[in-house]
Amino acid sequence: MPWSRFDREWTEPGEGRILEFKDAVREAIDQAMQLDERVFCLGLDADDRYAVYGTMKDLTHPERVMGTPISENACTGVALGLALSGMRPIHIHMRADFLPVAMDQICNYIAKWRDMFDDQCKVPLVIRAVIGRGWGCGAQHSQTLHGLFARLPGLKVVTPATPHDAKGLLLSAIRDDSPVLVLEHRWLFKNEGPVPEEIYFVPLGEGRRMREGRDLTIVANSLAAVHAMKACESEGIDADLIDPRCVKPLDLPLILGSVEKTGRLLVVDYDSPFGGFAAEILAQVAEAGPGILRAPARRLTFPDRSMPASGPLERRFYPDVQRIAEAAHRLCGDPVAAGGVG
């Protein structure tokens, strides 16, 4: 089975009702559609029996879910038109790799629309896209792309790591009057965690300290945040773990405050390295806090090439718990045994 390897990889500790990530996403959409009749979903396969990996299943208002042809560029334009006409559309993609098909609309239209007309209009548009990985998905079905899209002025980019944040960030994105891209990693979908039943909003631009530590700061988002958490727990790393939750707007004060305390920074970014999210964090820390680093800051990212299909190559392409732990130990000057964690 393609997805069996990552079933319930991590459960977020906490009190209250426990939901899977995918069900938290579903609940956010369902509640938003119940609350506001202008919320309207569209997308390729958004309305089929598989319900976008269950995230669109058994919605209260299925009449407001529209399946679309394989016309991502036009449909993204349609979504912009819906937003400009007073609706609050959510455009859904089964793979983040389909977003570049609509790059004209996302880059030239949606991201710029409010600024181009001096904020005379609102663009309450959410684009949801699922990041794939593994089982030979290869170069065109495994891209993360959050660094690419965060480059576009006017676009907010959100990358939830936990069921709680998946719901709260998506509700904030739907409520926002500017375009927001929400990237959900497929490998998080069966993770569990506490999720309040009521509607709540995780503010866009507010990061979260996932654990307290003294030796170094690890910044990681989406699946990387979960892997970093596991690395800390299983390998005895005393890290302050920051999940920015939003690539943009970025919670720089939270990161800086942590780096001032620990003096060491490792950014784990499951994306390509050049000019990306990790590079941006390193640049902002360098600009904002000269002299606060006791050791050179480090990035752990994909190599600067496309995703291979074969399992052994793919598993080497992605950093993992072991390599995060290794990188953290090296940064702290701990002995690291060849081929393993010291």
Binding site: S71, G77, G81, M87, D104, Q105, N108, C121
Partner: protein, 315 residues
């Protein structure tokens, strides 16, 4: 021009006034443009005025239209105030996009222009979304996708036709076919007749885009079709571009000959108005003079308006 009746005098005069405003604004821009008082690429509409005037007389404020790069004609016809447009060309804060847009990016929320785009083709899809939004919100309004023949080369045009038909979107596809994509003649950029193929997806209407009465009649049918069916329609208007694609120089392409009498929608319409006694020579002259005064006022307003504060562009 064929003899037609049934048009009310006030509608005829409104269309004339719209066409003359578009023309006289263009003629005002031409000598000023080399002085760099308007630092923005203009795409003038001389020769194409009838399409905007004949279409927009059937539209209401609740009908939404995202324009392409050639904005002046359709925007003015849809209701954008002259002052707001001229101030935007001058890069002043009083412009319709508050000096952020320029000639190619105009905005007028009040008159149903939620923006315009300079990337050819994409505005068609956005306008389909506008129409779908009108339908979903229970409005009687429609979307209007206003584009040139060059845009029919783009994949997004065909995707939009399919989507609008498939989902029964109340949107009018308006192709203002001036036969040129920049300097390329249509025969070199489009193999088939897009309007004919559009007929597989929706009702198609065709008009002579240099004859405002032809546009008026066919646009009336097409808009009524969209409004009543709450589904799409296509209106193809052939016209002629007198100026170069961009800027203020006359076009001199050998394959785009212009006859300043026969190809002029204003000359043709004024002849009709005189012949049918819908207007007197004095009334026609008065329209032109009134627009000159409006232009004086609009340009004075623009020149007196402040530039935006550069400090607003903080890093």
């Amino acid at each position: 021009m064929t003899e037609r009746t049934g048009i009310r005098p006030e509608q005829a005069m409104k269309m004339l006034r719209t066409m003359r405003t578009i023309r006289q604004l263009s003629e005002r821009i031409i000598p000023l443009y080399p002085k760099d008082v308007m630092e923005t690429p203009v795409h003038l509409c001389i020769g194409q005025e009838a399409v905007s005037a004949g279409l927009c007389i059937h539209l209401r404020d609740e009908d939404l239209m995202v324009l392409g790069h050639r904005t002046h004609g359709p925007a003015l016809a849809k209701g954008l105030p002259l002052k707001s447009l001229v101030a935007e060309l001058y890069g002043r804060t009083t412009g319709c996009s508050h000096a952020r847009g320029g000639s190619m990016h105009v905005y007028d929320g009040e008159h149903g222009i939620p923006g315009s785009s300079a990337i050819v083709g994409g505005n068609i899809a956005v306008s389909v979304g506008l129409g779908l939004g009108r339908k979903l919100l229970g409005s009687e309004g429609i979307g209007v996708a206003y584009f040139g023949d060059g845009a029919t080369d783009a994949g997004v045009f065909w995707e939009s036709l399919n989507f609008a038909a498939l989902k029964e979107v109340p949107v009018l596809f308006l192709c203002e076919d001036n036969g040129l994509s920049n300097v390329m003649p249509k025969s070199e950029h489009m193999f088939a007749d897009p309007a004919r193929i559009a007929g597989e997806f929706m009702p198609v209407y065709r008009a002579d885009g240099t004859d405002v009465l032809s546009v008026y009649e066919e646009a009336g049918r097409a808009v009524a079709q969209v409004r009543e069916s709450r589904g799409p329609a296509y209106l193809h208007c052939t016209t002629k571009r007198w100026m170069q694609h961009q800027g203020v120089l006359e076009d001199d392409l050998p394959y785009n000959p212009i006859d300043p009498e026969k190809d002029c929608p204003i000359v043709r319409f004024e002849e009709f108005l005189l012949r049918t006694r819908l207007a007197t020579p004095g009334e026609l002259a008065a329209v032109g003079e009134e627009i000159e005064r409006d232009l004086d006022e609009a340009f004075a307003f623009a020149e007196a308006s402040p530039y935006p504060d550069p400090e607003a562009m903080e890093v």
